[in-house]
Symmetry: C2
Subunit: 347 residues, 2 copies
């Protein structure tokens, strides 16, 4: 077994603390990764605090993982020792259902095995995430990363990157597309960078007037303070696509009105209460409201390759393991530009 140092939540209320665990020795199709960096995603916080249902404690969060391959199983072909690799939000799935076969393992009809707070396909072995020194993952669920890239800034692509890339690609964002991004946090800042890199004209909607400068620096052409719905309605009939990353309660009817005919609002955030949607907001102009959940392995690789080519990375603040709890508090307050990433050598 591979001795692994980690940080874990032991319950919903107390700070994360050091934790030791053992990763499995590689099976024939496994890759062992020595983790170099792991991003802090807001969903880590929701999970360890049991805000999305009771967590399985001890809970080692983290699903924005990059590192170096130190061991491979005897049938592994795509990775060799010394390669740089990434792991995202899931580490296994059935591989046989129609969604897995369509390379959308995140919608596996049997069981998507999440990187943490989940069980392996045996239904009993808990999964532990990337706030740790090592991880063993099936080759098929690992991503290839160019060694020369700034790895700390690549880590958040594994969740924030793919989560925003997938709907931008799906709705065919290209040169000239008019894209709105609601909320400028971890997901939002990636949505701006990616949409811009695809050639879109980007507008950021935010409740924080002081984010205007950053929005423009990240690539947005317009910045709209969303507290007053009138500001949103000034763009009535304007957008092809709006990526809504906000998890706080907010009214999306004005965003639906700001879409062109056949335009789409994609929800990525999950507010605590249901959205209230007027049927007329959808019927007039045949607007669409949809959601999107991360992306499959194939699309995640495509995103990583796109980001490497376009030099799109996350804006990050690098921290050591002992700063995780402070980083959680700052993430909750939105006081981060735009992602905390843990230096995994500090576990």
């Amino acid at each position: 077994m591979i001795k692994t140092k980690a940080f874990a939540a032991y319950d919903a209320k107390t700070p994360l603390k050091p934790f030791s665990l053992e990763r499995r020795e590689p099976n024939a199709d496994d890759v062992v990764i020595q983790i170099s960096h792991c991003g802090i995603c807001h969903s880590d916080i929701h999970t360890v605090r049991s805000e999305w249902g009771p967590a399985k404690y001890p809970c080692v969060p983290g699903h924005e993982i990059v590192g170096h391959v130190i061991q491979v199983g005897k049938k592994v072909k795509a990775f060799k020792v010394g390669d740089t690799a990434g792991v995202g939000c899931f580490v296994d799935s059935c591989g046989k259902c129609e969604n897995c076969k369509a390379n959308e393992e995140q919608y596996c009809q049997r069981q998507t095995v999440y990187t943490y707070n989940s069980y392996e396909t045996d239904g009993k072995t808990p999964t532990y995430g990337g706030y740790s020194s090592h991880i063993t993952v099936r080759e098929k669920y690992c991503l290839k990363i160019k060694k020369s890239l700034p790895l700390a800034a690549v880590a958040p692509l594994l969740c924030a990157g793919i989560t925003t890339y997938s709907p931008l690609k799906r709705y065919n964002v290209k040169k000239g597309s008019k894209v709105g991004v609601v909320g400028l946090g971890g997901l939002g800042h990636m949505a701006v960078k990616l949409a811009k890199a695809m050639g879109a004209e980007v507008t950021v909607f935010s409740t924080s007037p002081n984010k205007s400068g950053d929005a423009k620096k990240l690539g947005a052409k317009y910045f709209i303070i969303s507290k007053n719905p009138k500001n949103i309605l000034d763009k009535s009939g304007y957008f092809d696509l709006i990526i809504d990353t906000v998890s706080a309660e907010h009214d999306i009817n004005p965003y639906l009105q700001s879409l062109k005919k056949d335009g789409t609002v994609v929800l990525l955030g999950v507010p605590p209460t249901p959205h209230k949607i007027n049927a007329f907001s959808l019927i007039g102009g045949r607007k669409r409201l949809t959601g999107s959940l991360i992306g499959g392995i194939k699309e995640t690789q495509e995103m990583l390759d796109f980001c490497a080519k376009k030099k799109v990375f996350s804006d990050i603040e690098l921290i050591s393991a002992d700063q995780i709890n402070e980083a959680y508090e700052r993430t909750i307050k939105g006081d981060v530009k735009y992602r905390f990433v843990i230096d995994a050598t500090t576990f």
Copy 2:
């Protein structure tokens, strides 16, 4: 001017009464139609009762119109005297915006001129609908109907038919598609017939257990009593498309759950209060919620031709003008199988 007998609402509260009006003599591109039949759509009732905002009184409703051409303007090419013609929900639009050019005049960016309770493009001449003996309409906004068809049963295709046909086509319903229809009224019964004619397997969701027999006769394979959400959830992950025709308050989250990945719920009805949508209902399985508004002239003609070929018509109850007010009360109670159509010779 063409003397025209009609029925009109004079205010929101009192029954419709006889009314006389004059239709314009045909301009160069106009067609004058002697109306033979006009369907009663639930939106007629909402409109004349000012339930959708204050109506323009006197208000002559009716937008499911068929009849015979008795006069044509000198530049009219597509119609000649003696032809059978139809008029749907709108009678004009700008013709120049991108939506008009894309044959989607119902989404005209300047002004869709509705068949009644609207103004002509001059902004001041009121439009009067099909509860009348004659109507003068620009050739471009008239539909061609085969003389040999059962005209009374064709009339409802001009609204109920195209409103359901358009989303079925848009979402590519074909042999093997699994389609759900929520609500078995005027729109719902057309959705069932059309989806079946396109080759789909159709499931009807209704709160009325006694509609089961009818649903099957109309072409549905399954009938589900929707009062208990559990019944809907039994079909979790099942449907490609659900057409929701219900204008009463109801929870659509179970319908979203009953969709396959990338499936779509299309709203056609407008309940009095907003729908409450859990973001997770859309994110998990990347479900779509959308709406649809009638259809353009080109698509309406395509629908009429499809219905003629497939012998799909509305199930109707033919009434005379003096039965309109009684028909309204019965429509509100859902006591009609499935559309009242007025014999326009009785005005």
